[in-house]
């Protein structure tokens, strides 16, 4: 009879709260969007599934050993935990959790020892998160793989498109402003680090967003990653209206000059040039752009195809599985079901829109100032969201002029946008993170 009670008490139905139910539904929704609607499935399937796992009541998969001990420990253990965490006797588990979150390394170690001795251990997703994201490794490895899949040929053929990639990053910083404004008027409650992490959604680049959030705002990581990947999937819906609004039919019909062929040596030297500029100008962007350049060099140098294949094949696939599940571990009800999440979702879409608009407007300016014709539609590709945004530029261009193939032209600003947002990430980590 005791066992029956114990089984029932251990069961999910007995421990479920409303928040967890809602989060499980959100996880199912993400899976539906990913599988049925094709929303960035490579990330959103693991994230959605991880979100469901993280909210299984009583399983504690997303919690550390100490958090699990605080949720499930007996009063004697809580008393001891309170001692090492400096919380007065009689206070609730919430105070313990917050003291653990804010505690120094020594207090954390002592609390972990107590929890382990009492038989509590880290949840599966918590372990995945520690190894893959808290260490910073997974987003960097994925960025290396992205580098090994990126062709900088179009960018090298027309380096001026880098300006479009720069312009589109205005979406990032405008969003930072928006976030601090919402805080200043008391609607939301974001720190400047939170605001910077939210802004990076406008970079339209998943691994960059996850990397920055893991450093500047780990608590918001779940919402930021979900927003970033969802809006990247929605690019074909978000961008075209803005593109049509800001360009004339004549501009959309502009045909661009055929790109010159780019030599192997240029492609090999480019990642090294970029790396050296990062080294000299912005070391805080070195992990992200360093791994990106490394992946690209593996691909272009032509003598290490084994490594290049691993970087863009088995390695990135394996890491994506754990990265996705780990992001899902941040979708626990207590942290996700919050007014701030709504703010993040709202600000994120504004970031995409402003980035798109900035890219187009600067492209129009370049078209006015320069001699070679620039179709402003390629400006929107500067937000990155590779290669979706470039395809959108091509599609809207074809609608206006069926002989106008913008895809390769848009790939220049598209990959420039990746570099641009990594640079922005470096600046923010340097200014806000230290």
């Amino acid at each position: 009879m005791d066992n029956l009670l114990s089984l029932w008490n251990d069961s999910g139905l007995a421990q479920m709260d409303v928040g967890q139910g809602i989060m499980i539904c959100i996880g199912l929704l993400l899976l539906f969007l990913a599988i049925r609607k094709g929303f960035e499935p490579l990330l959103l399937v693991p994230i959605g599934f991880g979100g469901i796992l993280a909210n299984i009541p009583g399983a504690g998969l997303a919690y550390s050993a100490v958090e699990n001990a605080i949720h499930g420990g007996d009063p004697a253990l809580l008393l001891e935990l309170g001692k090492v965490l400096g919380v007065a006797v009689g206070e609730q588990s919430k105070a313990l959790l917050s003291a653990y979150g804010l505690g120094g390394a020594e207090a954390k170690m002592l609390a972990t020892q107590l929890a382990n001795d009492a038989g509590f251990s880290n949840g599966m997703l918590y372990s995945f998160y520690s190894v893959s994201i808290a260490s910073g490794v997974a987003p960097l490895v994925i960025f290396m793989g992205v580098g090994a899949m990126t062709d900088f040929g179009p960018l090298l053929a027309n380096p001026k498109t880098l300006f479009l990639g720069a312009a589109a990053q205005f979406g990032i910083f405008a969003t930072v402003l928006g976030a601090v404004y919402l805080t200043s008027i008391g609607v939301m409650d974001f720190s400047i680090a939170d605001a910077a992490a939210i802004g990076i959604i406008g970079g339209a680049d998943g691994p960059t967003a996850i990397y920055v959030s893991s450093i500047l705002a780990p608590d918001l990581l779940g919402a930021i990653a979900v927003a970033a990947y969802s809006y990247m999937a929605l690019v074909p819906m978000i961008q075209p209206p803005i593109m049509r609004l800001l360009t004339t039919e004549a501009e959309r019909k502009i045909e661009m000059v055929q790109l010159r062929p780019v030599g192997t040596r240029e492609k090999i030297i480019f990642p090294l040039v970029l790396l050296l500029l990062v080294a000299f100008l912005l070391p805080s962007a070195a992990p992200l752009l360093g791994m990106f350049c490394f992946g690209n060099l593996l691909k272009e140098c032509g003598v290490v195809d084994r490594l290049s294949d691993a970087a863009q094949g088995s390695l990135i696939n394996i890491v994506t599985i754990f990265l996705g599940l780990s992001v899902g571990s941040k979708l626990v009800a207590a942290k996700f079901l919050d007014i701030n999440t709504l703010g993040i979702l709202g600000l994120g879409i504004i970031a995409f829109a402003i980035g798109t608009a900035s890219g187009i407007l600067i492209a129009k300016l370049m078209n006015k100032l320069g001699t070679t014709p620039v179709n402003p539609l390629i400006g929107s590709a500067g937000v990155s969201a590779v290669p979706m945004a470039a395809r959108v530029s091509n599609k809207v261009g074809l609608e206006a002029n069926p002989h106008n193939f913008l895809l390769m032209h848009a790939m220049g600003p598209n990959v420039a946008g990746v570099i641009g947002s990594a640079v922005a990430a470096g600046v923010m980590i340097s200014l806000v993170g230290g």
Binding site: L155, L156, P159, K160, L162, F163, G165, A166, Q169, F170, I172, F173, A174, V176, L177, A179, V180, Y181, T183, S184, I185, G186, S191, I192, A195, A196, G263, T264, R265, E266, I269, F270, V273, L274, L277, L281, L282, G302, A416, I419, G420, V423, A424, V427, M428, L431, V432
Partner: protein, 90 residues
């Protein structure tokens, strides 16, 4: 205090956007310089490594293919398809 975080945000925007622009401008210059140096001082070498990378021109045999043999092509590609569909079950 409320003003303060807005100030921080404005500063972050100015310095951030500035750095992005400066960095990418320098990158444009560096790329242009690199391409120019390669073209100007190492022009001959360029074709060689390109050829190394193209890994055996598959075009040559195809062009020796007599036009008009469309039927044969159809037959052969059908055979190929059949062959593949048989073996893809594994």
């Amino acid at each position: 205090m409320q003003g303060s975080i807005v100030n921080q945000g404005v500063e972050l925007m100015l310095f951030g956007m500035g750095t992005v622009l400066v960095f990418l401008t320098v990158l444009v210059l560096a790329i242009t310089l690199m391409s120019w140096v390669l073209k100007r001082y190492f022009p001959v070498l360029e074709t060689a490594p390109e050829a190394n990378h193209s890994k055996g021109a598959a075009a040559a045999p195809a062009t020796t293919f007599a036009a008009g043999d469309a039927t044969l092509v159809a037959v052969i590609s059908a055979a190929l398809h059949q062959h593949r569909s048989k073996h893809s079950d594994r």
